[in-house]
């Protein structure tokens, strides 16, 4: 019962939504829309659940005096301040200020560190161990060179060659990968819809 009911729910909801996508009938479309509404609401609850678990995990770390206690305090204070501002002043300037001057600089600068790690990754990735590594190196350097303003000054053929490289061999490779990824997604989804995979139990 404990495992059967969720499995039945997953299969029924999935089939109803699939029916909405495939069939054009008013009843099924209405049911599909209603279920989509439900998923939207549950998605928001899932976000809240994640925040609550984060809160609980760091609160328990503080209570048990383990881990980086200063970090946990900072996290909890930041979470509660952002949450409080957001709920007290929905759509207000305070939350936008927090986003503009705290959240965005934090996240953007963290991502900017990737420039250093990326160049160190290049240092390892560009070793010519195999022919494939050589192809990777040549295509990466050419793709970067040919999109620079100076490429057109060197030769007008460089940008065209780059355009061809992106539109034919690179697109062919990515299309093969996309097909594989889509097939994988289809199989994984079918496994859930048929009830073989039950990640919710």
């Amino acid at each position: 019962m404990r495992r059967t009911v969720p499995a039945v729910v997953a299969v029924l909801v999935g089939l109803a939504l699939l029916g909405d996508l495939i069939v054009d009938a008013p009843g099924i479309n209405a049911l599909g829309q209603a279920l989509l509404e439900g998923l939207v609401v549950l998605g928001a609850f899932a976000l809240i659940l994640a925040a609550l678990k984060l809160l609980g995990s760091h609160a328990s770390r503080l209570a048990q005096r383990e881990g980086d206690r200063l970090g946990s305090v900072v996290l909890l204070v930041a979470l509660l301040v952002a949450l409080g501002l957001g709920i007290a002043r929905p759509g207000g300037e305070e939350l936008q200020w927090l986003f503009d001057y705290v959240y965005q600089p934090l996240q953007a600068t963290t991502a900017a560190l990737l420039a250093f790690f990326g160049i160190q990754g290049a240092y390892r990735a560009f070793r010519l161990r195999t022919g494939e590594a050589a192809v990777l190196l040549v295509s990466a350097l050419f793709a970067l060179l040919a999109q620079l303003p100076i490429a057109g000054a060197i030769s007008p053929i460089l940008p065209r060659l780059r355009q061809w490289m992106v539109a034919v061999p690179a697109a062919a490779g990515m299309r093969g990968i996309l097909l594989g990824v889509s097939l994988g997604a289809v199989v994984a989804s079918l496994r859930i819809l048929v009830g073989i995979e039950r990640p919710y139990t």
Partner: protein
């Protein structure tokens, strides 16, 4: 709560744009603190990571409540008869929240099942109708030069189409890990597939090279953007004196 915040805002009595100036200082300090991680991991940068996670979680939760849940709760309160379904979803959502409480976590299985089942159906439909079928259709184009206008241009386009088709098949062949074929025909076919696979790996490497170049440009652009902000802040500070 609103009254408290209003009092704080009035009490600070900052000049117009004062909060923006404070914000610029805060952003500059945060930027420098995070960039210090590039030199070496240090407690300040690590604390910034905790700050990021806290702000992001709080912000996302606030938006989820303000923009998704609260409007629906209001509708449910105003007109329960028409919006009874929202009530059902709110109850399911509360059951979902019980996932965080160990003794009650099993009650979250039904809303989770709904999320997974619905997500799987949407992913299936999207993958089939949004990627698989259109990409297969796009691959099945004419290889006749006359369909592309004829002449040298037609031949060029036809050659491109043929190379695209061959490259796609080769890329798929690169992921064949089957056992070597038995018999003469099997071995010959295995050689063909292995050859295609080698070509496919080369084609995939070309794609990855383009991706890598783009990624380096992206990461570099992110760094330049932060340095531009710092440069602008410093110049404003020097020019404005504070």
């Amino acid at each position: 709560m609103n009254a408290v915040l209003d009092r704080i805002a009035m009490g600070t009595s900052l000049a117009a744009g004062g909060w923006e100036q404070i914000g610029a200082w805060v952003a500059a300090v945060i930027t420098l603190a995070v960039l210090s991680y590039a030199i070496a991991p240090n407690p300040v940068a690590k604390t910034m990571q905790f700050l990021l996670v806290g702000v992001a979680a709080g912000y996302a939760t606030a938006q989820a409540w303000n923009l998704v849940l609260w409007p629906r709760v209001q509708l449910l309160i105003q007109d329960p008869a028409s919006h009874w379904l929202y009530g059902v979803y709110m109850v399911l959502g509360l059951l979902l929240l019980c996932r965080g409480i160990k003794p009650l976590s099993v009650v979250a299985n039904v809303p989770l099942a709904m999320l997974f089942g619905g997500g799987a159906a949407l992913a299936l439909g999207g993958a089939l109708a949004g990627t698989l079928v259109p990409q297969l259709e796009a691959g099945m184009v004419s290889l006749a030069p006359r369909d592309y206008g004829g002449g040298v241009v037609g031949w060029a386009y036809a050659l491109d189409a043929a190379l695209l088709l061959l490259g796609t098949i080769a890329a798929l062949a690169a992921f064949q890990f089957t056992v070597t074929g038995q018999g003469r025909l099997g071995r010959a076919w295995q050689k063909v597939v292995d050859g295609l696979g080698a070509l496919g790996r080369a084609v995939i490497m070309v794609a990855f090279g383009v991706v890598y170049a783009g990624a380096m440009v992206t990461f570099f652009g992110l760094l330049v953007s932060r340095l531009s902000f710092l440069a602008g802040f410093i110049s404003t500070w020097i020019a404005g004196g504070g």
